[in-house]
């Protein structure tokens, strides 16, 4: 089983997580720029974070055979902090980078005028830089937030089929689907969605344009929720093709809209063995990464003679 987690904050996770994710079948992730829990106090703090998303984190992921891309944005919460807002002026130089596959997370937190402005500006940036957008929907007053989000999308230059509306649930999925957007669901241990409700939503609305993510971060969350949803879907009678559509082909198609998805992890990993992350771990020959499929804008496959990925030895089967 191949899994693409389209929303996970690996900066907040350990190498144990990378190892377990690989074991569960995760071969690609997208890490959206977000709030770190501790408020930032200046744009410079964002720059270091963005640089990590484009430097160190993909290197860490590659050690575990996982292709890493990111989305770049001023997140909704910090859009309200005047000390942070000037980062908007610097986003263009990040949005041209090779491994940036969307603008995000953008959207609403408390639905303030400052959030309106940041959302509109960044939807416009997505259109200008030919990128799709990953749009977070709020935890509080969710349905009203969803409607205001869809209004902002309609008023923007970005077509709805270039927008992934995330953190949907039973109360918000229908309107997002009717708007023509991609549909993201975050599956959490306690909040947001769970596996069984995810099965029910897919039964009702079908797997087209649906993406499932763990949204794992620094809070209580589980980076293996994608696999657990896949297992629940199979147990409920969905076919392997359905599961592959939701957990691989849909995220590949959505982020492939950027033309920058590179799923050849051998091409992104360390040239040399033995990085600091792999303290004393044995090394094994890699399997080849899963095929990316025919979608445009996606690269995969490794040139002959490429050095194999470096990663520790661990079981290829999941204990999910």
């Amino acid at each position: 089983m191949r899994i693409f987690d389209p929303h996970i904050h690996m900066t907040s996770r350990t190498t144990d997580d990378y190892e377990a994710m690989y074991g569960a079948g995760v071969r690609a992730v997208v890490e959206p720029a977000f709030w770190l829990g501790q408020p930032r106090t200046s744009p410079a703090s964002f720059f270091d974070y963005f640089d990590a998303l484009l430097g160190w984190e993909p290197f860490r992921a590659a050690q575990y055979g996982i292709a890493h891309h990111c989305t770049i944005a001023l997140n909704p919460k910090e859009a309200n902090d005047p000390r942070c807002v000037p980062v908007l002026d610097e986003l263009p130089r990040y949005l041209v980078k090779d491994h940036v596959v969307a603008v995000g997370e953008i959207g609403y937190d408390s639905m303030t005028p400052a959030e309106d402005t940041a959302l509109a500006v960044q939807l416009q940036l997505a259109a200008e830089y030919a990128l799709p957008a990953l749009v977070h929907t709020p935890h509080r007053d969710k349905l009203a937030g969803l409607r205001r989000t869809l209004d902002a999308v309609r008023e923007s230059a970005l077509p709805p089929d270039h927008v992934l509306i995330d953190h949907l649930n039973e109360t918000t999925v229908e309107e997002a689907k009717d708007a023509g957007c991609w549909l993201g669901f975050s599956v959490y241990p306690d909040t947001k969605m769970d596996e069984e409700r995810m099965v029910a939503v897919l039964r009702e609305y079908g797997p087209e344009k649906v993406l499932v993510n763990s949204a794992a971060d620094w809070g209580r969350s589980d980076p293996l929720k994608t696999r657990k949803v896949a297992d629940a879907l199979l147990a409920a009678g969905f076919t392997e093709d359905d599961v592959d559509l939701v957990l691989w082909r849909n995220p590949v198609a959505f982020y492939g809209l950027s033309g920058r998805l590179d799923l050849d992890v051998a091409g992104t990993e360390a040239t040399h063995e033995g990085n600091s992350i792999l303290r004393g771990t044995p090394r094994t020959a890699p399997e080849t990464a899963p095929e990316a499929g025919p979608e445009s804008g996606v690269r995969s496959g490794s040139p002959a003679g490429e050095a194999p990925p470096v990663r520790p030895s661990f079981p290829a089967t999941a204990e999910a």
Binding site: R93, K97, D98, T271, H272, G274, N275, G280, T281, E306
Partner: protein, 260 residues
Amino acid sequence: MNDLHDAPGTDRTAARPAPAETATVLSVLHSRLNSALGGAARAWLDQALDEAAAHPGTDGPIPVWELRIAEAGRRCGPEHAEAARVLLLYAARADAPTLARVYRQGTADERRAVLEALPHLVEGPEGLPVVEDALRTNDTRLVAAAVGPYAARHLDAHNWRHAVLKCLFTGVPVDAVADLPRRARSDAELARMLVDYAAERTAAGRPVPDDLHRVLALTGHPATPTGTDVPDGPSAPDDAEAADGGEAADGTDGTDGKES
């Protein structure tokens, strides 16, 4: 990617490349890249290089060629991005402050390209901060690119020895270290550091990297790492023997003691 270092006309033992030599190396690189690229990518590169040559300065908030450097991976393919970026930096005649900016604002892949371009674009030591930054990282792709000909030429003895040791720590093959035989020769302090490191590995019950023995032999100091049965200088593997291949040459054996 070591295309630059392997291209005809480079000689790692040379003190510094003459401008004509750099032009030759990059011309070879360009020809190789042209034959590897498809039509659309080749046309993109040609136009990007022309733009960089015609407008090396800042026209707006950011020079166009810097945008081309950012998008080289998706235009030429990730496997050709580094060569394309090096050629763009050369076409734009990037000086040390410009290279520092591109490095500072770059992804890890772009930073590698700056490190690869450095020996061809900067004569003096003013590019050293970029090399030192890369050597502070734990990203082995950057460490390997940092120990190229520019470091061989300009890095002071202390930092150079630490760079060599870092390669051994992180498993970067010492083949990546430019001009290794010349700089290692008669370096008693490097030999001491190597012997101490070997002793530390042995005390921990861990293997000593083959590359360590190789560098130690190059120092010419017949020190034997404590607790190992490595022969003294005359019978230790010399550079040519080790470079002939086999496991010793790739430097990846027994390097599981890592920096953090």
